[in-house]
Amino acid sequence: MAFLDIKGVSKRFGGLMALNDVSLQVEKGEIFGLMGANGAGKTTLFSVIAGHVAPSAGEVVFDGTRLTGLSPSRICRLGLCRTFQIVRPFAGLTVAENLRVAALYGSGRKLSASEIAAVVDEALQAVDLADRRHLDAAQLTLSGQKRLEIARALATGAELIMLDEVMAGLNPTEVSAMLATLERLRGEHGLTFVIVEHVIGALMTLSDRILVLDHGERIAFGTPEEIGNHKRVAEVYFG
């Protein structure tokens, strides 16, 4: 059984089919890429999986537990957390406090004060924000706030993390650093990632497998190489 199993998920917004019968399986420890033009339904798929949006049809199963109908906080405590494409920092709290909340609540079990501090430090280091831990989150640059999104998801202790365009706005050096970080986190902690990225190069480098959505439908699925040679993807994506 797959770690994350998405079974025939559809989402209708009024007359618009944002997702149309999408199925996919993510294996444990994998980095799974999700591609598609603007409006393809990538963020909506994240919202359905994380419990922010109820699907019109279909269901999501994570690590053997049916997620559909559960609250986002419950889903997080089960070990699945997402980031937001439009960042949502706790603006009036410091960077460290942002992570502390995630560490306090994310895992669903009570950690000791020193365990919390360790989780926060590690998350800060992973995204290179340690020197800004005492700043209010509102004072970070956009790139800093994107990294805070990742760190906060990490600090929840989630085993599967969905990253929604976290590299948008980073410069090429920062992108390579981020790629290395994600690889390292997967290696050291066995984390699983589903990533949506507009920086296609990054997605191609990092992903084990890629799914391409267009207007809410699956149009291609395979290794980065297969996707690179796919005819419909080329049409949709590169015009």
């Binding site: 994380a50 922010h52 609250s71 986002p72 906080s73 419950r74 997080c76 405590r77 957390c81 997402r82 937001f84 949502r88 920092p89 706790f90 603006a91 009036g92 709290l93 406090e97 502390r100 909340v101 995630a102 306090l104 609540y105 994310g106 895992s107 669903g108 009570k110 906060r152 998801a153 600090a155 929840t156």
Partner: protein
């Protein structure tokens, strides 16, 4: 902390040294500290500004007036606190679904609704105000009120420095993000709402015993809600000493005003609130902090 301790000691000692007038003032100050501090448990932490806390005070007073005579006053006060908490638990879920100005208006409306319902019930029963006899001495009531002020302050402090408080702060900053990182938003908001209602229930009961007269329009007076909000905001919502400073400052100011110019009370309340929101958003507490750092 030191400020709170000094006030508490003063409050306990005042019956031995002070005049009846002095005891009256201290009773009032302790009452407003207890109320503003309780209010802050919900509103300062989550940013859900309640403009209806008079309802908990009123329920406490009503329950207390119905029970004194049958029960010892300590138990009546306990029942008053419990009823206010129970009421919060019952209405909390739907009320806390709305945010921002809607929450402010809804809590105000709810408080007014309960006031009118109780007024109707009382007039249907042919009661135009209830007197109670056999109330505890002024000293005992004062000590109870000082105790509630201390309890509310300790409670507010404990909440702010707990895991619970961290969750509430996240809710204030961004409810969706809080939910996403595992904070059980609905449950925490409800708990904060209940916590902020309990002590005001007991305060309402004590205030009733002090005046020994119950009249619904007075017990559920919306001015109580306005005063709580004004004190908390003037004192500053970012620290636990804020509501203390606001309550002390305001209670003293209103003593002056009531004795000299009672008709100006509401006007001064309004002007102070506007002035502080515009020019001193962090309240007296923030002001003191700045002076402290400058010195």
């Amino acid at each position: 902390m030191i400020l709170g301790l000094a006030l508490a000691v003063f409050g306990v000692a005042v019956p031995f040294i002070g005049s009846p007038y002095m005891m009256g003032v201290v009773f009032q100050v302790a009452m407003w500290i207890a109320l503003a501090q309780s209010w802050s448990m919900l509103s300062a932490t989550t940013g859900y500004l309640s403009l209806g806390h008079a309802v908990f005070y009123g329920i406490g007073a009503y329950v207390c007036v119905l029970l004194t005579g049958t029960l010892p006053f300590e138990l009546a006060l306990l029942a008053a606190a419990g009823s206010a908490g129970l009421f919060a638990a019952l209405v909390g879920m739907p009320v806390l679904r709305v945010r921002g100005p809607y929450f402010v208006i809804l809590t105000y409306g709810l408080s007014e609704l309960v006031r009118h319902v109780v007024m109707r019930i009382e007039s249907a029963l042919g009661s135009f105000g209830r007197m109670i006899f056999d109330v505890p001495s002024t000293e005992v009531l004062l000590w109870w009120m000082v105790g509630l002020a201390v309890l509310a302050t300790l409670g507010a402090y404990a909440i702010r420095h707990s895991r619970f408080g961290a969750g509430l702060a996240a809710i204030r900053e961004d409810e969706v993000a809080a939910e996403t990182v595992g904070v059980p938003v609905t449950r925490l908001k409800l708990l904060a709402f209940i916590a902020s209602a309990i002590i005001p229930g007991a305060v309402g009961g004590l205030a009733l015993l002090r005046t020994s007269y119950f009249e619904p329009a007075q017990a559920f007076d919306p001015v109580i809600s306005f005063t709580i909000v004004t004190m908390a905001l003037v004192g500053g919502t970012e620290t636990v000493r804020g509501p203390i400073l606001g309550a002390v400052g305001f209670a003293l100011l209103s003593e002056l005003l009531w004795s000299s110019l009672p008709q100006l009370y509401m006007i001064v309340l309004g002007l102070t609130l506007i002035g502080f929101i515009l020019f001193v958003p962090k309240g007296l507490s923030g002001l003191l902090g700045r002076i402290g750092r400058a010195a």
